[in-house]
Symmetry: C2
DNA sequence: TGTACATCAGTGAACGCGCGTTCACTGATGTAC
DNA sequence: TGTACATCAGTGAACGCGCGTTCACTGATGTAC
């Protein structure tokens, strides 16, 4: 039989291919992803995949975009669960907690977007940039809010170069120099959650009495204590 | 010619194989390491490698051991550059600076030992454990010194499980419960340097005005400020 | 309602490639007499 | 000093494997008349 009945075909083969790819990545990482093994698992032939993805790299790109989108959705959902003025720290904490939760739920997706690059794969930046930026926008946006309220205590943190074309640089609408400190603090906060989460994901973190979540919460509170100062006055909340 | 003259052979083929392997890992990561391509580059045939390494995994293990040893040497050299009592913070700073320096000099070695695991490779733990432990021993040892001096301010840090068989757990000679706090702080310090360094190595850190070193120094000082308190008295130094 | 036709998702064979590993072998080297 | 021999590092052919990608094809489906 050259082709099965339509009714027997995959209803949404493009999604099935990506799902199977994720399943295989979960087993052995992105560098060993193989079109033929995906096809084998789906009961189709390898060339059929070319009807949906122009080549192997295009599939990897689609996976990366999906991962950023999923991560970004979780980040924004966590932040938006605590709306309104006066709850900026709740938003910061929520994005932090959501960061680890998503990473533990999708360790290989996390490593695909924030870990070492896939050898031989060159990411198409213009395609990835929007979704990359959005994914960390919840964190950066919340820190920008605290900065606008005068509650950011950055100390003498070094500032990034104005023209460095980094991923979430364009998140800061203006080229406002005073926003550089938001950017610098965001990087430091990000590096701290990333450090702990990536050690935990790769199994290098030992068991803790109250679990890894407790250590992570401790680190989040350390971060808040270092970078955030109390609101200036109560009157701040009313107007 | 079945075999070249001895004089024309590699003087130390085992080392040449590892060096070539590192060169290739630097180009495209450890997961694509290939015995045949190593042999090609050295001008020998692939089966010759089996005189030195029983199979591909044995070569990877040798590379990992060398990486841990090199990293550990740098860590201990940095610490031992500031000997004597009263210089504990210098030792802590020195190991921190050396951590980033080694990682930037050997980014792929760093990722091989601290990054995501190589797919399909199962590390022989009993062989790796000694060199793994030693590599982080300079950091843990210095924090233990500060703890012994009563200068560790760990706050309410969560403690690890006593029986968690983690890599540098056995560094703490005794099963002394009071040492758990040393262990917990070491993990947190490690996660913070690892977070910043791994972002920098993978090219996810933007340019900074004074360079990445300034940001890293800022983070090291934050770490010291959080976890270390001033010496109790001057008299502490004299006896 | 029936028929001719265009579409296009998936097939199966084939391409050239690189891989890890095995095996019997060879021949320069070092050694014992 | 010369000779016979054991050693053993490296060779070359072969094994079976999986890979990405191309190509002409097929035949169920949807559509126009």
């Amino acid at each position: 039989m050259a082709r099965p009945f339509r009714a027997l075909q995959m209803p949404n083969l493009s999604e099935s291919i990506k799902n199977t790819a994720w399943r295989q990545i979960t087993e052995s990482g992105a560098s060993t992803l193989s079109l033929r093994s995906i096809a084998r698992e789906l009961g189709i032939t390898a060339p059929a995949i070319y009807n949906y993805f122009s080549d192997r790299d295009a599939l990897v790109t689609a996976l990366i975009i999906d991962a950023y989108a999923s991560f970004g959705d979780c980040q924004h959902a966590a932040r938006d669960a605590h709306p309104g003025p006066g709850r900026e720290i709740d938003r910061l904490r929520a994005t932090g907690i959501a960061y680890r939760k998503w990473a533990l739920n999708h360790p290989h997706r996390y490593m695909l977007i924030f870990g070492s690059p896939v050898p031989g794969y060159v990411p198409p930046m213009q395609e990835l940039l929007p979704v990359m930026m959005r994914s960390l926008g919840a964190l950066v946006g919340t820190i920008a809010e605290l900065h606008a309220l005068g509650r950011l205590d950055a100390g003498s943190v070094p500032l990034p170069l104005v023209d460095s074309g980094h991923r979430f640089f364009t998140l800061l609408e203006t080229a406002d120099e005073s926003m550089l400190v938001v950017y610098a603090v965001s990087i430091l906060v990000w590096s701290r959650v990333h450090g702990l989460v990536s050690l935990e994901i790769t199994g290098q973190l030992p068991q803790f009495v109250q679990g890894g979540a407790a250590l992570y919460r401790f680190e989040l509170e350390s971060i808040c204590r270092q970078f955030i100062r109390a609101p200036e006055d109560e009157e701040k909340i009313i107007p």
